[in-house]
């Protein structure tokens, strides 16, 4: 009896399986034969009624049937799945993604941010000051005597006899020292103006970062240490540098800092004018005359100051060939950074 049923099921199973086309059909089919109450399960249920002596052989046949049908079902399942990929799965996944537009900060601002973060890490505050400045802050309090040739070092746009567009960020030094007593450790980024011929290497407007540190024991050696650390963090760790004597009315001694030209690795190229060196900043110990303008005791306090042009640094760092490109704001340029 049971043996016959096994045969019948086998035939019916094969017959039914040809009608299975969709995952839904497949599920119904599974329930019909292989589920907990399916027909196979029912046959196992009937095994109870089989005489004891026949149980082993019928049981074996039943197990065999279950194995065969399970295997057949699995094959069927895999065929159905292959034939029934959903619409979602048919999508051409190589189609382009939907663009999300994230704007960007101007590369000059990004460069400034990088510089700021290095100095903030060394304990510097950040201050700003006005661009339309008085002669007092821009020159006089920085120890540029009236009618002194040092004023020619910075071609100035004048607004009136006593007001001008600041030629450097150094006036913010004076403003900060007027506000605070030492210790003062700050950088002062901002826009500056020079009445200079406009060409690939120079523009009438640019950005600078000024630095100042005044305390009881500030030395030239510390100035060197701080700036070398900055340059290594900003440019490269294995950089070579030199400090060259220079002249700024508001520092004494004054220096310019050069680093090995990273374009030619010091071999000499067009960018470094064949010297192998790139000038990156001006610096020095704050001149006692400057302290006297802000009523600091120059016997008690010493300090250093430095200043660097951001456009120049960005030109070098990113290999941009013309300073005017920073102010053209060509979208194709802006999008690169």
């Amino acid at each position: 009896m049971l043996t016959e049923k096994i045969k019948t099921i086998k035939t019916e199973f094969d017959k039914d399986s040809t009608a299975v086309k969709t995952p839904k059909d497949l599920e119904e089919f599974r329930i019909k034969y292989l589920s907990r109450n399916g027909r196979i399960a029912q046959l196992f249920e009937e095994l109870k009624n089989v005489p004891k002596e026949n149980k082993p052989s019928v049981g074996k046949d039943l197990n065999e049937l279950r194995n065969i049908l399970t295997e057949k079902f699995n094959n069927l399942k895999s065929d159905i799945e292959k034939a029934n990929i959903s619409d979602e799965q048919k999508i051409d996944l190589t189609l382009p993604g939907t663009e999300r537009i994230i704007g960007s900060k101007h590369i000059i601002i990004q460069t400034l941010d990088e510089i700021k973060s290095i100095f903030k890490g060394m304990g510097f505050s950040v201050f700003e000051g006005p661009e339309l400045e008085s002669d007092y802050y821009n020159f006089e309090a920085l120890n540029f005597p009236p009618d002194h040739p040092a004023r020619d070092m910075q071609d100035t746009f004048f607004i009136s006899e006593k007001f001008l567009l600041r030629t450097h960020t150094s006036p913010v030094q004076i403003r900060v020292m007027e506000r605070f007593q030492p210790p003062v450790r700050a950088i002062m980024p901002g826009v500056v103006y020079r009445n200079e011929a406009i060409n690939a290497r120079s523009y009438c407007v640019f950005h600078q970062v000024e630095g100042l540190y005044v305390d009881t024991d500030v030395t030239f050696a510390e100035l060197k240490g701080t700036l070398v650390s900055f340059a290594k963090q900003f440019y490269m760790d294995d950089l070579k540098y030199r400090f060259r004597p220079s002249f700024f009315p508001f520092t004494e001694p004054s220096a310019e800092m050069d680093i090995t030209c990273f374009i030619c690795k010091g071999e000499g190229c067009r960018i470094c004018k064949k010297t192998g060196w790139l000038e990156i900043l001006g610096c020095g110990m704050v001149d006692p005359n400057v302290f006297s303008y802000v009523n600091y005791d120059s016997e008690k306090y010493t300090g250093y100051a430095f200043g660097m042009g951001i456009e120049r640094i960005a030109l070098l760092k990113y290999g941009i060939d013309d300073i005017r490109k920073f102010y053209e704001n060509d979208l194709r340029f802006l999008k690169q950074f």
Binding site: S160, P183, T219, F220, N329
Partner: protein
């Protein structure tokens, strides 16, 4: 300044020191060598040769075909110079040499079909003179095959040195040699002066009077009689040419030579052209015209210090001599001026005249008042030697108040305090002595120093410390590898703008930076503009009052390049004049930090899975609102809308926090866009960031979200189209019960089917209670009540019923 190494070697022995080392040391002591030419290097291939034969070029009228004897061979050379002739000794550039003037490397070529094996050179091609009219013809005694470096003494190194404004002492060969003597610890050798004087005392032949002692503290005159004006000897011409000067005649050349040797500018007058043989130094009392020796008529302002004779002005003191008294080929007798002028006066005059000369450049930077005599004697002895004159006995030296050497006290401990490094005291003393300072006395830590008058920049102890460090070498001072961080309060005044930038970029905006200098048309956009006194051009003669014009230029340029969808922001300062007066104080103008959002084109481009969307006024408004939402403000925000009332905008609005306007924006007017040739809509909003920043932001506090579910209802009304969104919204918010948490407009349209003057507005309402789950009935009741109220109040009709 151009400096010749051979010339320097006359004052300091540099034997055994390489050119590279000299370049390095000069730069590292503050005399920056910007460039240098090593003649041995650039002239190494050029040799003396002779022209043995000259014929016409068969195929060219203006070319000659020459045979050139180079000492060991005869070469065929094509030459284009009109002055080439048989028998000449010339400078020959063989194949493989590089022509200094143009960097061209010679190879064997055919010129008009004829082979040419090198080139016969002109002065200009070799940069040894300015004559480019023909080849340089040399002395016939020179031997073929000799390198020109040897035959013509082209074995010098010419440095181009940048002299900082404080180093007036370095504007001469002796000055530079002095630094080298200190660096290499070698002796500085001054030139020896030998003068044979005539019997007649100088006071018999000339006189000097200074009327303006303030601007002319010292005036020395020497007289040399019976000179012969002629060309200078080769050595003198050569020296001047090497440092870029043009030889004129022996007298003028000597004054130029002595100036470049010592740093003292000199002027030679033709004594016979000086009325009364008298020099009077005085300032002009009124404006006047004066012809300088370059034959130009100069307008002199009143108060210009002039050198005069008994009758008239003969030179602009310290700047340039007059045509009326200059040395000519007829001159017999010379009055030589060696004077000291007030630097700031000379600077003023040179600026007023727009005339910077080698003399004024030096006087502006202070020439040693005690150098005058040495320089006068040096020039007088050279004139006697070269121009064959008789030096008249004695010097006229008007020097009412002698300027003495300055005394400066140096504490050795202070050097260490400033530099953070101890330099041995014997090194310090040696450096100072070599630089010409005298150590008057020493006690413990202190050196009492006397500073020579040629170093007016060394006024204080700190100046001396720099000198020591400069010569000792900045590179000898270690860079300390650690710093102390002091714990005073830290500030970052850029925090606010940093946040603004971060937000702006997150909205998809690209940051632009514009030149704040604009033309008059752009300048008035946001108020009364500040004008520059000395603009570089009319395009940059004002300061901006708004960020909009600069951004419009950027938009126009990008559109021209084919980029039409542009979303920018800019942060920058604008400047507004507050009255019509000249700016004398910070109260006469205001400088504000602004932020501009500017949008044009498609904010969403057409893609395979979405349609495009043009930016519009509501893109701008949404951007502004989303931006402000990120700043928790206590103030009540509101907008004021204007359909007209601002000439720059088609329509616009202001954003206010209580009564403070944070900024304004809208759709830019066609009239504005037309000026920039922009043919697409542009929307912008300009914030006053200073005002924004002033508004106290409240501390953000956490509000726990409602944990009970919300019930959502939609409704749409047909109502009169004059009823604004804002009116209806406020009504809903005020009457919608405390359970109404959120109201959102999701559809708006007008159509003929609705009827004239009507529109449909559809809203989604979200109900939610803080303390319980709302029941459908509860919400339904509130919802229906609201519908009822709206219908009554606005004469509106609920749609879909």
């Amino acid at each position: 300044m151009k400096v010749s190494l051979n010339w320097l070697k006359e004052y300091v022995n540099l034997d055994g020191i390489s050119v590279d080392e000299i370049v390095d040391k000069l730069t590292m002591c503050g005399l920056e060598v910007e460039d240098y030419i090593n003649q041995q290097e650039i002239y190494k291939d050029f040799i003396i040769a002779s022209v043995t034969k000259k014929e016409k070029h068969p195929n060219a009228d203006k070319l000659s075909l020459c045979k050139v004897n180079t000492g060991n061979e005869e070469l065929q050379v094509v030459c284009g110079a009109p002055n080439v002739a048989e028998g000449q000794k010339i400078i020959f550039a063989p194949v493989g040499s590089t022509i200094p003037s143009n960097g061209m490397k010679l190879s064997k070529i055919k010129i008009r079909g004829v082979e040419s094996n090198g080139m016969i050179c002109s002065e200009a091609e070799l940069e040894i003179g300015s004559d480019a009219s023909g080849i340089k013809v040399l002395d016939n005694n020179l031997k073929e095959g000799t390198p020109i470096t040897e035959a013509l003494g082209l074995n010098d190194v010419i440095f181009e040195i940048a002299i900082t404004p404080n180093r007036s002492d370095a504007l001469s060969h002796i000055g530079i040699a002095r630094d080298l003597s200190a660096i290499f610890n070698r002796k500085l050798i001054y030139p020896e002066i030998k003068i044979v004087e005539s019997e007649t005392p100088v006071t018999d032949v000339a006189s000097v009077e200074i009327l303006d002692k303030e601007n002319c503290p010292r005036y020395i005159a020497r007289v040399i009689k019976d000179v012969k004006i002629k060309e200078s000897p080769e050595w003198l011409k050569d020296k001047l040419i090497k440092i870029g000067l043009r030889p004129i005649n022996n007298i003028v050349d000597i004054t130029n030579f002595v100036m470049n040797e010592t740093g003292q500018p000199l002027h030679a007058f033709d004594l016979d052209r000086l009325a009364g043989k008298k020099i009077i130094v005085k300032s002009t009392s009124s404006k006047m015209k004066f012809t300088t020796l370059d034959s130009k008529v100069r307008e002199l302002p009143a108060g210009t210090l002039m050198i005069c004779d008994a009758e008239r002005e003969v030179a602009i003191a310290g700047v340039m001599g007059g045509e009326n008294s200059e040395v000519t080929s007829q001159t017999k007798n010379i009055l030589l001026e060696s004077a000291h002028f007030n630097p700031s006066h000379i600077r003023k005059v040179a600026k007023a005249l727009g005339l910077s000369t080698d003399a004024s450049y030096r006087f502006e930077r202070i020439v040693d008042p005690n150098l005058t005599e040495f320089a006068a004697n040096r020039a007088a002895s050279l004139i006697a030697e070269i121009a064959g004159g008789k030096v008249i006995k004695g010097i006229i030296d008007v020097y009412p108040e002698k300027i003495n050497e300055r005394k400066v006290l140096l504490r050795l401990s202070r050097i260490k305090k400033i530099l953070g490094y101890e330099i041995p005291s014997d090194k310090i003393k040696n450096i100072l002595t070599k630089l010409g300072l005298k150590i008057i006395s020493t006690e413990d830590d202190k050196l009492n120093l006397s500073v020579p008058t040629f170093r007016p920049d060394l006024e204080r102890e700190i100046d001396i410390i720099e000198e020591v460090a400069r010569i000792y070498g900045y590179d000898q001072i270690p860079a300390v590898p650690k710093i102390t961080i002091t714990l005073e309060k830290k500030y970052d005044e850029s925090t606010f703008t940093n946040k603004v930038r971060e937000l702006s970029t997150s909205f998809g905006l690209y940051e632009i930076l514009n030149n704040p200098l604009v033309d008059e048309g752009a300048a008035g956009f946001g108020g009364n503009p500040v004008k520059l006194l000395n603009p570089q051009s009319v395009e940059m003669s004002f300061l901006r009052t708004s960020l909009v014009p600069g951004a419009l230029t950027v938009i126009a340029n990008n559109i021209n390049r084919g980029e039409k969808n542009l979303f920018f922001f800019e942060i920058g300062n604008v400047f507004i004049k507050l009255n019509e007066k000249d700016i004398k104080t910070f109260q006469d103008f205001k400088e504000e930090k602004h932020l501009l959002f500017i949008l044009t084109g498609k904010e969403k481009e057409k893609a395979w899975n979405s349609s495009e969307k043009e930016a519009d006024f509501f893109s701008l408004k949404g951007l502004v609102d989303s931006f402000i939402m990120k700043f928790p403000l206590d103030n009540v925000l509101n907008d004021s809308y204007y359909h007209n009332g601002n000439t720059n905008f088609a329509f616009c609005y202001t954003k206010n926090a209580d009564n403070i306007s944070l900024g304004m924006g809208g759709k830019l007017g066609k009239n504005v866009l037309k000026q920039y040739d922009i043919n697409q809509d542009v929307f912008c909003f300009e914030f006053n960031l200073d005002e924004f920043q002033k508004i106290k932001q409240k501390q953000s506090r956490y509000i726990s979200p409602i944990k009970y579910p919300k019930v959502v209802r939609d409704f749409a009304f047909v109502l009169n189209k004059n009823i604004t969104y804002e009116e209806l919204l406020k009504f809903i918010q005020n009457n919608g019960s405390y359970l109404l948490q959120n109201v959102k407009l999701f559809d708006l349209f007008e159509s003929e089917s609705l009827g004239k003057d009507l529109k449909s507005m559809a809203f989604t309402l979200e109900y939610q209670a803080e303390d319980r789950t709302l029941t459908e009935e509860e919400v339904e009741k509130e919802f229906l009540r609201l519908i009822n109220l709206i219908e009554k109040n606005f004469n509106a009709k609920l749609r879909g019923n």
